[in-house]
């Protein structure tokens, strides 16, 4: 079934990439898990990310069974769930974020089941109303576009797809077909937080993707520090950092897994450093 919804209205994602193009630099895309380690700390961190240098925010929707995530992000999700996080609360946090920030794009990232249980129609409506710009749902390949991708597009949300090293030329058009906002290139086969990517491969892969799409290409999985961010920002339109931020957050928690006085600051410091790396990249 290949239905083509009406063209999407411009989102904050389109706007930021247009602006960064004129500035000649890549976007820093930061991932944090909603409600980790508790709602108040997570809200404060979310609100602080744009000023620290995050150009786009990926906000994780916790799920008990995150099959594509490594131990660091799994633990973040479980901390949030134990603290009472729900999809409803996550949407409320986005709404609160939007009361002070109307410019920074926010993408919700997670797995399909909580959305399915919430109800797809209600979810895309509520997400849009809360100020969400796009969705990344890991366990929805293009073969399942009817489930959420098409309803999300109809509601004016970008549906951002992951392309991976296993996505070959024959498959790429299918993956890109209903993708909007940006393409998220997963630079290694594996789970989040695994080995550092081979940067020469990244350059090659970005070039391969560019032959198929005009969408901005963000690269993630395995980016830990400013140097890595800089290396990737040389070739890609955006650098996604997740596990490194969550690790920094986790390192500040007390023995019970609760936030301490340094929790927000440590993550903000790392975002600032990564942002400097991205800014320092010479775009090729």
């Amino acid at each position: 079934m290949t239905s083509h919804p009406a063209p999407l209205p411009r989102t904050r994602i389109d706007d930021i990439f247009a602006r960064l193009k004129t500035e000649g630099r890549a976007a820093l895309v930061t991932f944090v898990e909603a409600g980790d380690p508790d709602e108040a700390t997570s809200q404060a961190l979310l609100d602080a990310l744009p000023a620290a240098g995050a150009d786009i925010i990926e906000f994780g929707m916790p799920f008990t069974d995150p099959m594509a995530d490594g131990p660091v992000i799994q633990a973040a999700g479980l901390r949030a769930l134990h603290a009472g996080q729900t999809l409803r609360r996550t949407l409320a946090m986005v709404k609160a974020f939007r009361s002070t920030n109307d410019a920074t794009p926010l993408v919700l990232m997670g797995y399909f089941n909580p959305i399915y249980v919430y109800g797809v129609e209600a979810f895309v409506r509520d997400a849009r109303a809360a100020g969400v710009d796009g969705l990344i749902v890991v366990d929805l390949p293009p073969e399942e576009d009817d489930e959420l991708c098409l309803p999300a597009m109809a509601a004016g949300l970008n549906f951002i797809r992951l392309a991976t090293p296993t996505t070959d030329a024959a498959r790429l058009p299918k993956v890109l077909q209903n993708t909007s906002g940006f393409v998220y290139y997963v630079s290694i086969n594996g789970i989040t937080g695994a080995a550092e990517p081979d940067y020469s491969q990244v350059e090659h892969a970005v070039a391969r993707l560019r032959a198929h799409t005009d969408l901005p290409i963000c690269v993630g999985f395995g980016v830990r520090n400013a140097a890595a961010a800089r290396a990737i920002a040389t070739h890609a339109d955006g650098v996604v950092v997740g596990t490194a931020l969550i690790s920094a957050l986790a390192g500040t928690l007390d023995q019970q897994g609760h936030a301490t006085g340094t929790t927000r600051g440590k993550v903000v410091d790392l975002v600032q450093a990564l942002s400097q790396g991205v800014h320092a990249a010479q775009r090729g």
Binding site: P114, Y118, D139
Partner: protein, 405 residues
Amino acid sequence: MQHNRPNSFRTGPDERGHFGNFGGRFVAETLMPLVLELEAAYGAARNDPAFKAELQDLHKHYVGRPSPLYFAERMTEHCGGAKIFFKRDELNHTGAHKINNVLGQILLARRMGKKRIIAETGAGQHGVATATACARFGLECIVYMGAVDVERQKPNVFRMNMLGARVVPVQSGSRTLKDAMNEALRDWVTNVETTFYCIGTAAGPHPYPAMVRDFQSIIGEETKVQMLEREGRLPDSLVACIGGGSNAIGLFHPFLDDASVKMYGVEAAGHGLDVHNGHAASLVGGRPGVLHGNRTYLLMDDDGQIVEGHSISAGLDYPGIGPEHAWLRDVGRVNYVSATDKEALAAFQLCCRLEGIIPALEPSHALARVLDLAPTLPKDHLMVMNMCGRGDKDIFTVADILGGM
């Protein structure tokens, strides 16, 4: 939720892997090309007479098939109603029905040139079967097993180690079967080029539910022939336990279009269906959701978070169920019921004493419902229960509960 009855119950899934609204391919993009490759490879293998012949030869000489259809005379006398038969899949090499599916998948992995095999296991029966087949064919074998299950199924951990497999205790999440499956999927995402994921039940992304069902259908096909030989007609009812549901779908599927045959799938009711998070009965006590590559009935909370479930039997302790069962429930072809830990334990003991068969705790759940159903049925009613595993692995669990006997 009663849908229109289809002309045949045996045509599914469709080309997208759907059984009605259930099934599908809900996997990360990294896995999608592999799932498609597997579908193509299986499609070719199933139509290849050489593949069939090799599998049949292994079934006969390595597994010991066909497994007997045994008239459980004293159980029948005890119940005083239906004639009760056991399909003796516990007599298979490795002690359960799991080997039927594993040999099919391992032969397929060989055809595909994959030399590294991963599997998840709950009770350990699928892990033992996979370790066995990998030893037989000289393949590397890694088995993911929840750390909780490693503790409660120690004999099977030893077995896997003896057979040369590496057992990885999974510490994430609830540390049981669902987490073992998550970890196996993570391994597969990481090692896509070399690795074949041998899923142990009729669940997961398409084509697994259909493929595992096909490999397990030998149970029902044999039963049909054996009952016709013995009684000159089809059985009147079939009973099987359900965790993910592979032994049940294997028994049921060849009979789905035989309208006279009633079917009962028995889920694990654990401490009781009314106890929150105290059972593993996804169909009776869950609702539709998406997990592990397919849409099916799941145990979860109002936010769509998966709950662990509980059963005395590690093999039934899974919060989901194969998507074909979810569909068969909604179309009303199969009756899904449940049995508690206590009922299963009582049936376990009775079977030991009356038939000289130590059943696994999994089929003890099926037997618990046989004990209710059989007395209400006439003496010419032919009832087949799938004795899908033997209880050697469970004797310590049972001894703990019964106080050492």
